[in-house]
């Protein structure tokens, strides 16, 4: 193990690099991520008094109140671009549904009987739809909370409950997403930063996609 060489140097000589995400895809992904991060951290400052200190990092409570909604609007806009690009690829097929039923096996690295994954595996697809739904709820309820002085009471009473619930769902999804994309699946992060993966990584994690690419 001590002789481990950095994957990037080693693969450059012995392995084929496969483009995983185009520059456009990576740009929009990170635009979504930054807007999400800003909205999350400023939102957490208002979620709990124990996290209000976060507002100090972002310019104080009043600034956070004024800009958090704009962070949300940016997130929604960027997500809409990402949605247009990916929503067809994110549709769940029969294999995906079987995959989701066996997701517990995937979690413990027992891939026996697990259907092969395409460009996105069923977990990634599920995350996409989850974030799209909770993001829509956050946007709608956020618009209500933005202008309390003109919004009807009933909408405000519903929104103060739905907005944080959707936020907890989104942030929960993010925690899993970040863990999977960094520590849990080595090589995945480079796919979203530098844009490429090794052929072995592709063959192992997204075999259906890998075969498609080979055929082309």
């Amino acid at each position: 193990m001590a002789l481990k060489t950095p994957a990037s140097r080693q693969t450059a000589s012995t392995e084929t690099r496969i483009i995983r995400f185009s520059t456009a895809e990576r740009t929009v992904h990170w635009a979504v991520a930054l807007a999400f991060l800003y909205a999350t951290l400023t939102g957490l400052a208002l979620w709990s008094p124990r996290l209000f200190w976060l507002s100090a990092i972002f310019g104080g409570g009043t600034t956070v109140r004024a800009w958090h909604p704009w962070g949300g609007v940016l997130f929604a806009l960027f997500f809409a671009v990402m949605f247009r690009r990916w929503n067809r690829q994110m549709r769940l097929d029969g294999d995906d549904r079987r995959w989701l039923r066996l997701a517990h096996r995937y979690a413990v690295h027992d891939e026996s009987g697990l259907p092969e994954a395409g460009r996105f595996n069923a977990g990634q697809k599920a995350l996409f739809w989850m974030q799209a739904s909770s993001g829509s709820l956050l946007l709608l309820t956020g618009l209500v909370l933005w202008w309390p002085e003109i919004m009807p009471r009933l909408l405000r009473e519903i929104s103060v409950l739905i907005h944080p619930i959707a936020a907890v769902v989104s942030i929960g999804g993010l925690i899993i997403h970040v863990y999977m994309g960094t520590a849990a699946v080595p090589g995945a992060f480079r796919g979203m930063t530098q844009g490429w993966v090794t052929s072995e990584w592709a063959a192992s994690h997204h075999s259906k996609w890998y075969r498609e690419i080979r055929r082309r």
Binding site: A7, P49, F52, H109, L145, V160, V168, A184, P186
Partner: protein, 287 residues
């Protein structure tokens, strides 16, 4: 704020407020049966608090404005209705109720923006206010109003500046019929009961006290000739902190925190127990 009056509750502050030393709480009593609708209390409030008044449109009623505003904290509501073929004209001064369990304070995310003094007065600190408007949703009386320019909420302070130096609130001072009185909450509740008894003897069987239990009682107490129908006076029938606000600021907060912390902890434990998912081929990353 440590130099201010003793506090009973502070918004968005873990650990709550300092110990209280006062045993008496103050209150305002509004005996609607002796109100003549003179609006002296409205003027006194504007004068003492140095508020600008913007004239609205005449809407065919004696009422000065349709609702409270960020710079108009004391409004006599004039309500016309009919009973047994007779017109009924009711007037009731409307302002912050200074709830014992204030929904505004519970909803507020800004530490110290809303405080409840030991004497029962609920007060906004505009310096700490971030302008989110959650208090407007938390308040079952629709009292707090946002100043659209400064993005700060305002409402009746129960003249805490006057009360803290031993004066009565400006509205009380101005009332010519003594329909308004100020004192300890205990005394005023007793006074209200006496007045209600007198009204009942006087042929007003529906007379009663408005001190809604849904918000733990209030520090602004009414005597109503028709206490069975407070909505006729423009007062909510059974005001409560909206259940969504209570759920959001109560169990949901804990469930959400547990879920998020559990998620992070779970990811760590998963990594320690199962490690990363490698590509299944020894060549990947290993010489």
């Amino acid at each position: 704020m440590t130099t201010g009056p003793d506090l009973k509750a502070i918004s968005a502050t873990p650990g709550g407020a300092a110990a209280t030393t006062r045993s008496h709480t103050v209150a305002k009593l509004i005996d609607t049966t002796t109100c003549i609708g003179c609006k002296a209390c409205e003027v006194a409030c504007q004068e003492w608090n140095n508020q600008q008044f913007t004239i609205g449109n005449f809407a065919g009623t004696y009422q000065t404005l349709p609702d409270l505003t960020h710079s108009f904290w004391n409004l006599i509501k004039f309500n016309e209705s009919e009973q047994d073929g007779q017109p009924v004209w009711l007037m009731a001064k409307y302002q912050c109720m200074h709830c014992v369990d204030p929904g505004c304070l519970r909803a507020c995310p800004a530490p110290g923006a809303i405080v409840q003094n030991a004497n029962g007065i609920v007060d906004f600190n505009q310096d700490q206010c971030i302008g989110c408007g959650y208090c407007m949703t938390g308040c079952p009386f629709d009292v707090p109003k946002l100043n659209p320019i400064t993005k700060k909420v305002h409402k009746c302070t129960l003249c805490t500046d006057r009360v803290s130096v031993g004066l009565e609130p400006a509205c009380i001072k101005a009332c010519p019929t003594n329909c308004l009185s100020f004192g300890t909450r205990e005394d005023l509740l007793r006074k209200a009961e006496t007045r209600v008894d007198a009204l009942k003897e006087d042929g007003r069987p529906q007379a009663g006290i408005y001190n809604p239990e849904g918000v733990g009682g209030t520090h602004v107490i009414y005597v109503l000739a028709q206490a069975d129908q407070p909505e006729k006076y423009g007062l909510p029938k059974d005001p409560r902190i909206p259940w969504t606000v209570a759920l959001w600021k109560g169990p949901l907060k804990w469930a959400g925190n547990a879920l998020l912390l559990g998620g992070i902890l779970g990811a760590f434990l998963h990594y320690l127990r199962y490690g990363p998912k490698d590509s299944g081929k020894p060549a990947d990353g290993i010489d």
